[in-house]
């Protein structure tokens, strides 16, 4: 008889693995990605391929030659980062800028902090903000949906502003919200608007979110508290002065709020561990998003809001503990 294996209980293991989580996120992103490809065409496909390929390659090279570890690229985490980064930039972004973004996300934000599970900040978001600051022109040139579908590399004449960009510039020119021509709710819902190609379709993003909830990859706490806070905060502002402040439904559907609340803020590594911690985190994200959008210099504030809250996660994890069974006060 073979010698028996001895180890502590439990002796069985559930089906969930890092791989199944990461590929689950990829599947959840597919509807929004397909919507992006529908509206922005070949450009979106090229950005995606370059981003995923370079993220995976950088992770492999750094693990193999710099850290001298067994490469773990098949866990799918670099694919998720690559896909998220791609979906958070315009479909017209030059390929080499995408590669620089990937290097920042994987090299600086993830591997330099110790690799999977150790990073404090969301890699795709830091990369996006890095690109926004380094390449402010290409990162704020927005191809027009549908019209730009066939364009590759040259997007002259098929670009326009994002809904939030329109709002910000026209308000600065002294117009009231009612005078500004903003896209209809229908277009905002389906995604027929300018913007980063993965953020435009509200419906597709929500479908992805429901899928992740069903698979128990994320919990409801962060998306719901994030969206609800943004809704209430922008709603109060709109009630106070509807000429200066857009209505809350517009704020939820426009820009990166939904992709941020459903996919970026819920990043497992960089969000809190407990239910109340997640709720506080989501509230913080919602407040900072609206503050930056309404009172800041940038038209959009989701990336900054989530990154600011990422920095608070260690504190939040310390302060908000789960309610223990039979806790004696």
């Amino acid at each position: 008889m073979n010698p028996l294996i001895v180890s502590g209980s439990p002796h069985i293991h559930g089906e969930m693995t890092i791989k199944s989580i990461m590929w689950g996120v990829v599947i959840a992103l597919l509807p929004a990605w397909l919507a992006g490809v529908w509206f922005f065409g070949i450009g979106a496909v090229i950005v995606t391929l370059v981003s995923i390929a370079s993220c995976v390659l950088f992770e492999f090279l750094i693990q193999k030659f710099v850290l001298k570890q067994e490469p773990t690229v098949n866990d799918g985490s670099a694919v998720v980062t690559g896909l998220l980064l791609a979906m958070n930039v315009p479909s017209s972004l030059p390929w080499w800028q995408v590669v620089i973004g990937s290097l920042v996300a994987i090299g600086i934000v993830k591997m330099a902090f110790g690799g999977l599970g150790k990073n404090l900040f969301n890699p795709a978001l830091i990369a996006r903000v890095f690109l926004l600051i380094s390449f402010p022109v290409t990162m704020t040139t927005w191809p027009l949906p549908i019209e730009s579908r066939a364009n590759v590399f040259n997007f002259d004449g098929v670009t326009g502003p994002t809904p939030l960009g329109t709002l910000k510039t026209q308000l600065a020119m002294g117009q009231t919200v009612a005078q500004i021509k903003l896209p209809s709710y229908t277009n905002l819902l389906w995604g027929n608007i300018g913007g980063s190609f993965g953020e435009v379709s509200a419906i597709a993003l929500i479908i992805g979110g429901i899928y992740m909830l069903y698979r128990k990859i994320i919990t409801w706490h962060i998306p719901v508290s994030f969206i609800l806070t943004a809704f209430i905060f922008s709603g109060i502002l709109c009630l106070v002065n509807p000429n200066r402040y857009a209505d809350p439904v517009f704020h939820i559907l426009a820009g990166g709020l939904l992709i941020g609340a459903i996919f970026m803020a819920t990043d497992l590594v960089t969000s809190p561990m407990t239910a109340w911690g997640k709720i506080i985190f989501g509230i913080g994200c919602g407040v900072f998003t609206i503050l930056i959008r309404v009172f800041g210099a940038y038209p959009e504030g989701v990336s900054f809001a989530i990154l600011i809250m990422n920095a608070f996660v260690p504190l939040i994890d310390r302060a908000f503990k789960p309610k223990r069974f039979g806790e004696v006060k």
Partner: protein, 443 residues
Amino acid sequence: MLKTFKKGGVHPHENKFSANSPIQPIDPPQKIFVPLSQSLGAPSKPVVKKGDEVKAGDILATGESFISSYLHSPVSGKIENIDDFIDVSGYRKPAIFIEVTGSEWNASVNLSDELKEDITLEGASIIQKVKEMGVVGLGGATFPTHVKLMIPQGKKAELLIINGVECEPYLTSDHRLMLEKPREIITGTRILMKALGVTRAIIGIENNKPDAINLLSKHASSYPGIEVCPLRVKYPQGGEKQLIQALTGREVPSGKLPIEVGCIVQNVGTAFAVYQAVQKNRPLVERVVTVTGTNVLHPSNFLVKIGTPVSALLEKAGWQPEKAGKVIAGGPMMGKALLNADVPIVKGTSGILVLNGKESLRPKVQPCIRCAQCVSACPMGLEPYYLARVSEVEKFDLAENGAILDCIECGSCQYICPSARPLLDHIRLGKLKVNQIIRSRNQ
């Protein structure tokens, strides 16, 4: 909506292969050995010596210290020796080795199968009888039953809970017992109610055993105080604190016993053993043991004499030793992996699970991705990732503040962890150290 506990829990594949296999008695081999330490508390004191002849049911050892239990001979035979053996944890422990000559019983034991429903004994004498017949908790923790029946000063028992949950995957011994001895279990429940002086009892059974729920409900219907409650299938529902919450909504405070909320929990197997002890004067010398796993050709439920080596059961069930990777005493979530198959079945052995080579290996450990699945799965509301981490880096004060001693070692965290981290390994070590620190602080 079926009742269940509120916080955490997991749902592994149930794999109850042996659910339809009736309980069959298994003959003891020529030699058995009965460990002296089979229940929680002090080991029993032997009253036999080498060369003595014993009959089945004769006292082998007494348990007169506060938490201890009596041991009886499961067979008739000759005491061969009292010596050490290597127990399931790898420690040397004393046992009484008996050469089996037959199955002649002590004359005081009523061997008939006739149901005896009238309870003639009174409260205190029931408890004394339960003690003398060596009854201990058969759910796994083997706490001496008579101690549990003695309510501490100032406390009051109000509700008896009979645990028929059997939430561990694979195991079916309680299920079979409920199907084959329902009236004995109901009578045992009534005996326990009388001993405790309570008027209400709830039998909790998970909803994956509808036949047992129906049968026990039918037999309980003539006793208005006894209710059968189906429960949603969720592990670790059979945990004492989880079961109390599922059935009553009450939370046993941290570090306290169920009596704090007026409850006493006994396993269905224990209720049957109490029936045997009180109505039939029959000591606890055998129990139902499930032998199961994909490795085993005939997953079975055996009625086994205490002291029978595990190997005898495995052979009877048709195991394939060349394919076996792990032999586990108990279920897959909380059972103990055996070093070899020569250890004896004891009062607390509810099952023997054999996993094949590949099933026995743990998945590769990967970095924590802070997914918080362990936090969601913990039925005690703890933070397993944190407790494992601080135990690993030996920050035991942080572990103590994080309520590491509340951990019931159900294994849900390690089961669910997508990175397959050995969370419970670290937490167990942490608990051990924190307990040592608290002991030395109190000295």
